[in-house]
Symmetry: C3
Subunit: 206 residues, 3 copies
């Protein structure tokens, strides 16, 4: 049950975030749908590939697919007056998708008896897979690699699940909300990780 709820939230959130990025890049109507779907199901496809479930299991998600289509259509038809805060909304949905899929990836890795390090990697790659595919297809550098603290929260989800801090459905939902909230806060307040630039770019720009 928790698994299905997280699937729905993650898929819808990434579908919307993909649609918003496609509109920002001036892609056409179908570009919006395709980028949304690839973002939404790309996360799941990466997860399936990484945990050894056939990618073709995606086809069994007919209802989820319809939900994604409806979500993207609503976003596409959103009234113009409500447009300005797109970027914030894009980040909001990206945060939900990250949190939902990071928890799913970690849960699966635990179920398959993997060690803690693998649980954390599964959380990070599953949570950020959809967003990475979205950004690459939009011709952008993946958000997860350079943005405000991002992957840290996926790691937190992996830790919480790998160390059995969160196991019951209620605990998982609390974890989901906490991870999403931390991601949103880190965006809102511009929390950053240290970075260490080298080479030409660093010389030229800093």
């Amino acid at each position: 049950m928790t698994w299905e709820v997280l699937s729905i939230i993650g898929t819808v959130a990434f579908a919307i975030s993909g649609a918003i990025v496609a509109m920002e890049e001036e892609y056409d109507l179908l570009g919006v749908y395709i980028l949304g779907i690839v973002t939404a199901f790309g996360g799941g496809a990466v997860r399936n590939l990484l945990i050894g479930v056939p990618v073709s299991a995606l086809w069994e998600q007919g209802p989820l697919f319809l939900v994604a289509l409806v979500s993207m259509t609503i976003v596409y038809l959103f009234p113009k007056q409500m447009l300005p805060p797109w970027k914030r909304w894009g980040n909001f949905f990206d945060a939900l998708g990250l949190s939902a899929f990071a928890i799913q990836g970690a849960l699966y890795a635990v179920k398959m008896g993997h060690p803690l390090s693998a649980v954390i990697v599964a959380a990070v790659l599953t949570g950020s897979g959809g967003g990475i595919i979205r950004d690459v297809l939009a011709g952008r550098k993946p958000l997860v690699l350079h943005a405000e603290i991002y992957a840290v929260w996926a790691i937190l989800a992996g830790l919480a699940i790998g160390l059995k801090w969160a196991e019951s459905p209620v605990e998982l939902y609390v974890l989901f909300i906490a991870v999403a909230a931390l991601r949103i806060l880190s965006y809102a307040y511009g929390w950053k990780l240290p970075r260490r630039a080298v080479g030409e770019k660093a010389k030229g720009q800093t």
Copy 2:
């Protein structure tokens, strides 16, 4: 039989289209071959991944691989006097590849008993997979996401096959020619889908 013919057409067409894009991007001789091969077999790899056939089935396509190599060599050695219409030729071969692989993807999804929505998605993703990989590796935004009506024709192929409008080999060939022709016409006449840009880019550029 029809399946093999479509495989050959799609592979050759995407190999040539990849080679042309690589030359446009000033990639070197091997870059041309690699981008051509990745484009040609990337479409098939995406199809295999999506429909649950092992990607390693690619290795059984030795003859197809030779055909792709020969096609790319011919393109690479093409006399200079005939160069100007490259862009048109690139689009021509891209259209053939799109049509051939979209039909293949849809046929496979039907054979596996998937519902209509999955047939359409299979047609779109299989038909555009090779081109998306090509564009990403060339550092471009994927044509399918922003170009003239593109995915619409793949959707049409999915519909025609999912609704059993085209089943016999003759019908499938007619469908193949129709989809490729529509894609070429939409390029020649600049048919476009509506697009709705938001955010900074829209403000800055339009």
Copy 3:
């Protein structure tokens, strides 16, 4: 045994090369780790996909994963005074990774009884897979497609193994060193393959 040694070398080399590219692109601390890991294990994931081993076999590489983490941490904490030759070091590690994974890919294709053409393709795609993923995620055009002679050395590895010139562990290590050295020499001396640019870019820039 040889297989494990090549795995370790390839993984460490690509992890470091990914970390260096991430620092050049000013990615943050976690961006450095993620790009390094994706580069290191992306090569293996592409290899697994192409040769039909489940991608999830990656999770059994716990020790390899730790080795990659330690390597990236060392690179990240490297003293500033030793920074200037980053680009050269990046190419050095890229060359080691290319050589190690190209030989692995070719060995596997031979073991599975594939023909020579498939052995060569396996060497090229396995050897360059990690680097291609790295460059795409860094928003760069893949080095393998346009750089100095690059794929030629992977093809050489494929030929040497496909034609049974190198079979014993000693021969394989010699081949590994030779391929890496040729790649480094081709970078140092700027050996290039012919390229044939067409279209707008060629007109505009040359």
